[in-house]
Every structure is written in structure tokens, then in C-alpha cells.
């Protein structure tokens, strides 16, 4: 789960990670009020969406008067912001964050993620703030300092020294401030079960202070049960409604842009099914894992979600029956076709325990748009042909 910049900064503030002062606004009027409250004579109006690249897309603007704050808030609120991370359809801006202007001397990068190879969190820092870190990693990997922290000992002063010397921070006072900054950010990461934190840019002000000018946080979904305060920050308008609906029924769904709907048990086989369709010359319309208990209800829900996509020309149901026997699944699929009006050809491949009985059940049912398949290759081939025939 991801949260907005203003929410990440609220969490930072709780942990003493320094940020510029700011107030979130839902309307231009609220934006004006926020600017008055913050005071000063320069403000930044920032679109709040769950995607990077907001500045380049025109979602972050500087205002030098209250009138300008109002005008920019009016422009940005309600705009569809397109960035390299939103996809071409963009994202609707529903909130802006009004922040006091900052005196930027240097732009740095600081992030915390899980290092899967080392199996512990790694703090990443770079002098190349403002640039996408993946780009820095590709073009000048030597400019990224990585310090892994073993949770058994936590963040120690030597971790901090590795960071500041790696970044070339020589002023002793600045070194101390940066080390404290990183240490507090590590605490945020651990305490909140974050999956990643990214501050890009982290700025050094003229006075030698470090401030989180941006803030991005993602959380481990499996740990949300113990963080109701994070769950409360969920913005469902940022989530794909179909993915969300599917999740409520225990299905894992991701829309793609092809023509063949896929319904599979198991995430690995679901990906493998998409890959096989592609290999056979077709295009998968989605990833859909119905989980371990493929029954009439879950299959019917799966059909419903897949068929919402008008591009779908055929559906490939690929189930490997293990402990749940194929004959039962076959009956479930037949029942599901009665519950949902399935108007495209459905290729069904059931393999595993009691596969033969299942094939018989499907053959005897004699439903015109249900096409039985014998194995994965046969099923993918028939689904690709069915999609082509339906054009």
C-alpha cells in the first residue's frame, strides 16, 4: 500500500525527520487559508497523487503571492496529471499540498528499501538528488552509497559515517545532522513496516540544515494488520477499482492490454499462462489468480471482472487441480457460466487430480462456447485461435 507525500511527511514529523512546513488542501479556498497560515512570501503548490515525476508533468509549481497560490491550486486541483509513472491515462488530482518555500543549496537523495540478497534493509543515498534513482544507478552507480543495516543491531554511528563520507559531507555539524536524519528515517522504516521510503530530493538549505522536500512511502501489505494508523491513510481513489473488487473476493487481478482473459490458480502458473499465450501469438488481457479454492463463486466473480474489459475476445481458464479435485472444479465452472453471461468463447484446461472425470463432465455439458483443452499448450493454442476467430 502507498500513501501521499503529505501523509509521508506527517509520519516523518512524528519521528523527528525534518520537513518543510506544509498543509494539505482540497479546494483553492483551503489552499489560500493554508498559505496564510504558513506565512512567508513564497509557497510551493504540489499535486498529491501516488506517482513520481509530478514536477515534470506540471503538478508542482512555485507561487510568489497568495493570489498565485489560489490560481495554481485552481489549475492543479482537478487536472489529470500525466507522468512517466501514471501511464498515458494520467491521474486525477484531488488534493494539493501547500508548502513553505525552502532555500535550496544542494539536492540529495535518501531512501530505505529491503535488500533481498542481504535480507536486511539498505539505506541508499546519493548526491544526485532530483534525478530518478534508477537512472543514477544505470548511468553513474558510483554516485550511490549503499549501507545495509542489520536489524539485530539497528542503525549505529558507523552506518552514519559510511553515509556521510560516501556523500562527501565534510562539515562536522552537517555530518551530525545528516546522520541523525538517516537514523530517524531508518526508525520510520522499521517501526512502520515500510516496504520502501524515498526522499527525492532531500535538500541542504543555506543554513546547512537537511530537509525532506519530498516523501514517498510504501508499506508491507502483510503487516498492515498491526498498523491501523497506516490503513486509515489509504486513498482508494488511487487504486484500480477492478483490482480492489477482485481483492475483496480473494482474487488477485491485474489488467493488461491484450485480448485473452486469463483465469488461473496460483500466481506462478497465472504468469506462465500469460507467457504461453504470448508465445503462441496471442495477447493476455489480464493476470488473475483465483487462489487455492477455485469454486463456482470465485470463478463466476473472475468471469465478471474479466468481462468488464471490452477488449476481451476469449477466456482461458487454466486450473491445475491438486487437493481440490478437477471434477469438482469442472462443475464449479459450469455453474459459474450459468451465474454470469459469458458471451465469449471459454477454453477450459483442467489438469491434475481427476482430470479425466473433469474432461467428461465438460464434454457432456455440451455448452457451445465452452471449449475443453487437454493441456497448457493445447489450451493456450485454442484460446489464441478463439480470440482470432472472434474478431
Amino acid at each position: 500500500m502507498n500513501i501521499h507525500e503529505y501523509q509521508a511527511k506527517q509520519i516523518f514529523a512524528q519521528y523527528g525527520v525534518p520537513t518543510p512546513r506544509g498543509i494539505v488542501a482540497n479546494t483553492p479556498e483551503e489552499a489560500v487559508k493554508a498559505a496564510h497560515e504558513l506565512g512567508g512570501n513564497i509557497w510551493v503548490v504540489k499535486a498529491q497523487i501516488h506517482a513520481g515525476g509530478r514536477g515534470l508533468g506540471g503538478g508542482v509549481k512555485l507561487a510568489k503571492s497568495i493570489e498565485e497560490v489560489e490560481q495554481l491550486a485552481r489549475e492543479i486541483l482537478g487536472m489529470t496529471l500525466v507522468t512517466h509513472q501514471t501511464g498515458p491515462e494520467g491521474k486525477l488530482v484531488q488534493k494539493v499540498y501547500i508548502e513553505e518555500g525552502a532555500d535550496i543549496q544542494d539536492e540529495l537523495y535518501l531512501g530505505v528499501v529491503l535488500d533481498r540478497a542481504k535480507e536486511m534493509p539498505v539505506i541508499m543515498a546519493s548526491t544526485e538528488g532530483g534525478m530518478e534513482i534508477e537512472k543514477v544507478a544505470e548511468e553513474s552507480p558510483d554516485k550511490i552509497v549503499k549501507v545495509a543495516v542489520d536489524p539485530a543491531i539497528g542503525f549505529q554511528p558507523f552506518h552514519g559515517r559510511e553515509l556521510v563520507f560516501g556523500l562527501g559531507i565534510t562539515d562536522k555539524n552537517e555530518q551530525k545532522k545528516f546522520m541523525q536524519f538517516a537514523s530517524k528515517l531508518y526508525n520510520v522504516y522499521m517501526d512502520k513496516d515500510a516496504e520502501m521510503i524515498e526522499i527525492n530530493p532531500l535538500i541542504k538549505t543555506g543554513a546547512g540544515d537537511f530537509l525532506a522536500l519530498d516523501g514517498k512511502m510504501g508499506f508491507d501489505d502483510s503487516a498492515l494488520y498491526r498498523h491501523p494508523e497506516i490503513e486509515e491513510m489509504r486513498d482508494i481513489s488511487e487504486e484500480d477499482p477492478d483490482e480492489r473488487e477482485a481483492a475483496q473476493y480473494g482474487l488477485s487481478y491485474i489488467a493488461l492490454d491484450g485480448e485473452i482473459g486469463c483465469m488461473v490458480n496460483g500466481a506462478g502458473l497465472a504468469m506462465g499462462t500469460m507467457d504461453t499465450i504470448n508465445y503462441m501469438g496471442g495477447t493476455p488481457a489480464n493476470f488473475l489468480d483465483v487462489g487455492g479454492k477455485a469454486n463456482a463463486e470465485t470463478v463466476a466473480k473472475g468471469f465478471e471482472i474479466i468481462l468488464k474489459n471490452p477488449k476481451v475476445k476469449a477466456i482461458f481458464v487454466n486450473i491445475f487441480g491438486g487437493i481440490v479435485r478437477c471434477d469438482r472444479i469442472a462443475n464449479g465452472i459450469l455453474e459459474a457460466t450459468k451465474m454470469v453471461d459469458v458471451h465469449v468463447p471459454v477454453v477450459v484446461r483442467l489438469d491434475g487430480t481427476n482430470a479425466e472425470e473433469a474432461a467428461e463432465i465438460l464434454a457432456n455439458a455440451n455448452i457451445p462456447n465452452v471449449i475443453p483443452a487437454t493441456d497448457l499448450a493445447d489450451g493456450a493454442k485454442k484460446a489464441v485461435e478463439a480470440a482470432k476467430g472472434a474478431k
Partner: protein, 290 residues
């Protein structure tokens, strides 16, 4: 022969009396697994599925001499259960539980390593030595005995792969579902040398997916250390970037962890890489008839 588990291994079940633990322990017993008891706090002294229940893993180990634990404890408590097993002298914990917090698993795995306990999973189907010992949730009937070792991040792809191998007239020595979470126990790099040393295993199937770099590490290892033929499939060639594909660890971050880079690395290491999982069986036949 086989790797890690066989019909002699004494197995306990943590989370024995819960619905999942009960259902699958029963299936494992029917398969022939030597389950000697289980652990459920506050149910010590009872009998379940004809086996003794203990309050703690230490009591279970002391009373039964078990060396392997199959873990069905719910996600919020699974790290605790794994660490308890490690301290009680369990040698291998097979963690079936899905949805364990990543932070908890970091801690649990580090503790397991410290105590010399191997782990498999979490969020995995478990391990099976064909026709001898099943510690997990896989349909045992698919795994006919044979000469192919299997390592997979995905449950259903394990079944798919094993089924194809059997349909081609071969069979399985041991199949290990290592799980698709960001932090897992034994991985390709630790399991490949076990299959290399196992005299009955003549070929190895490895099934990977997008995310992380375990398959890349495996490729390097295979190039230098593995003489037996390896067939590989990497799921997620058509997966979009930045989307988590069902498994918590199956995500392409930036440009890292793509199926293509893994397939290229494996191919360069001399592995027979198939583009579709539908070709796993045929590829095994090809490498074994050379």
C-alpha cells in the same frame, strides 16, 4: 535417494490442531510421512490424528526426537514459531504460512541461520520426496518416483512441471517449493548442490519468476558447479513493470528482476531455458536423452 527429507525423518507439525494444520497433516500421514506429533500451545497432553500434542517445540523434540517441523501457524505468529523451532534444535522448518510480514521473516530467518536450522518458505507448497515423504500441501499423487529434481518459487508451477515430467515417462526424486516472498529460506543456490550430489537425480528443473536476483545467483552457481543438466522456466515475461504479480516478491523494480535478464543469465550458464511452462516436460526429455 533424495534430498533433505525421506520416510525416516521424524516430523512435527506446528499449528497441528488448526483447520489447515489438521487437514494437511492428515494428507501427509496418508502419504507416508513420519509425523510423530505436533505443537499447539495449551493443548499439550492431548492426542490429535493419533499423535501426541505438545505445548512447546522443545517438549515435542525431547519426547519424539523430531528433526523436521511443518509450520502452519497463522502469519502474525509464524516468526515466533520458526524461532522457537530453531532454538529447540529442529534442523529443517518447512513454512507453509502465507502472508507473513517481511520484517518478521528477516528476523526469523536470521535466527534460524544462527542456530543452524534450514528453512523452506514461507508461502510455499513445501517439500516432497516422491512416494516417501510429503511435508506440505501439494497433491502427492502427481509426484511419481524418478530421476528429476525440482525447485520452484510457485506452487502450481511445481505441480505443472512435475506432471509434465511424469507424462514424459520420467519421475521426481525430490521437489522443493521455495516460495515467492521477498525473504525465503533455502533457495536455488543451496538446493542445486544437494541435487548435484544426490546419485538418483539425473536432471534438475528450476522454475523461477520475476523479482529479486536469486535466479541470477543460481545461473552463476550452475556455470561453476553443476554438471547435471538443468531445465529452467522463468514466469512473468509478459508482466508489467512495477506491479506485484500475486507473490509478494514477484515484482520488477525499475529495470531489475526481469524475466529476460534471468533467462539470458541461465542460458549463458548452459541451462536449457523454455519460454513456456508447457515445454518443461519436453525439455527434460531432451536433456535426458542426450
Amino acid at each position: 535417494m533424495s534430498i533433505l527429507v525421506n520416510k525416516e525423518k521424524k516430523v512435527i507439525v506446528q499449528g497441528f490442531t488448526g483447520s489447515e494444520g489438521t487437514f494437511h497433516a492428515e494428507q501427509c500421514l496418508a502419504y507416508g510421512t513420519n509425523i510423530v506429533g505436533g505443537v499447539t500451545p495449551n493443548k499439550g497432553g492431548q492426542e490429535h490424528l493419533g499423535k501426541p500434542v505438545f505445548n512447546t517445540v522443545q517438549e515435542a523434540v525431547d519426547a519424539t526426537g523430531a528433526t523436521v517441523s511443518m509450520v502452519f501457524v497463522p502469519p502474525a505468529f509464524v516468526a515466533d514459531a520458526v524461532m522457537e523451532a530453531a532454538e529447540a534444535g529442529i534442523e529443517l522448518a518447512v513454512i507453509i504460512t502465507e502472508g507473513a510480514p517481511v520484517k518478521d521473516m528477516q528476523m526469523a530467518k536470521a535466527h534460524a541461520v544462527k542456530h543452524g536450522m534450514k528453512t523452506i518458505g514461507p508461502n510455499c507448497p513445501g517439500i516432497i520426496t516422491a512416494e516417501e515423504c510429503k511435508i506440505g500441501i501439494m497433491p502427492g499423487n502427481i509426484f511419481k518416483k524418478g530421476n528429476v529434481g525440482l525447485i520452484s518459487k510457485s506452487g502450481t508451477l511445481t505441480y505443472e512441471g512435475a506432471n509434465q515430467v511424469v507424462k514424459e515417462g520420467y519421475g521426481i526424486t525430490t521437489a522443493v517449493g521455495i516460495g515467492g516472498d521477498p525473504i525465503i529460506g533455502l533457495s536455488y543456490k543451496q538446493l542445486l548442490p544437494m541435487f548435484e550430489e544426490d546419485p538418483e537425480t539425473e536432471a534438475i528443473v528450476m522454475i523461477g519468476e520475476i523479482g529479486g536476483d536469486l535466479e541470477i545467483q543460481a545461473a552463476k552457481f550452475i556455470k561453476e558447479n553443476i554438471t547435471k543438466p538443468v531445465v529452467a522456466f522463468i514466469a512473468g515475461q509478459t508482466a508489467p513493470k512495477g506491479k506485484r504479480m500475486g507473490h509478494a516478491g514477484a515484482i520488477v523494480s525499475g529495470s531489475a528482476g526481469t524475466a529476460k535478464e534471468k533467462m539470458d543469465a541461465l542460458e549463458a550458464a548452459g541451462v536449457k531455458v523454455v519460454v513456456s511452462p508447457a515445454d518443461i516436460g519436453k525439455a527434460v526429455k531432451e536433456v535426458l536423452s542426450k
